[in-house]
Symmetry: C2
Subunit: 147 residues, 2 copies
Amino acid sequence: MAMLVDILAVGKLKDRALQMRCDEYMTWLGAYGKIHLETVPDSDPNREGSVLLQRLAKERHAHVIALAEEGREYTSVDFAHHLDGIQSKVIFIIGGPCGLSPEVKRQSNELWSLSRLTFTHEMARFLLLEQLFRAQNILHGGHYHRE
Amino acid sequence: MAMLVDILAVGKLKDRALQMRCDEYMTWLGAYGKIHLETVPDSDPNREGSVLLQRLAKERHAHVIALAEEGREYTSVDFAHHLDGIQSKVIFIIGGPCGLSPEVKRQSNELWSLSRLTFTHEMARFLLLEQLFRAQNILHGGHYHRE
């Protein structure tokens, strides 16, 4: 099945170097399906949360994965197969510098932790895109992911 | 105690965007002590391993932490305090695209896994530098790391 992914990210990517890398992965991911990245203005977790929840209210059939430190960890291979098993659009949510509101986490289908380490929200966006590309590579073959 | 860190990394950083970010973190880290990054030519894990082991043979009192997927995971705060507790020079080893030889892992004091996810070795270098800077910020105060 073709990939259908929306990413809702809080705050702009100010780091030009990471922005370049993210743009590149977005282009590469376009070969595997439809990927769309939308940013929500950075304010405070509650206000950001209201905007995110309004956006989610329009997508009742999507599978929502929020990035959160307390979430479940996956290996890249497990993540790829997990993603492959989801039959609907997948929406990833990345919070801003102060994290996501509890209500957004509660309304998500699952919480995913990229690492036990804390990274900046800008790095999280880059790591997510890289893992999405790696997942497509694992599922469809390619030389990007080596066991 | 001032930070005293050597990083032995296999292969050049070809990604200019990540190189820019790494240079920036290296400069920032210089404020906290001495950090030195050395690259070993990229060939195959065994040959790379011999070069790394020769280099380690000169540093009998250093604490060697090899980055490996099967290693222990830390939170950023636990990593900071762990690092702070090491009384000698710390040497981090980052393998190339094909990983580290078993002998290098065996001769390291510990194996550390940045995440259960697989990243490129270039990303690992960037993530390590960011975590070292975050650790100094956790230990010495600053606004970079937010709980």
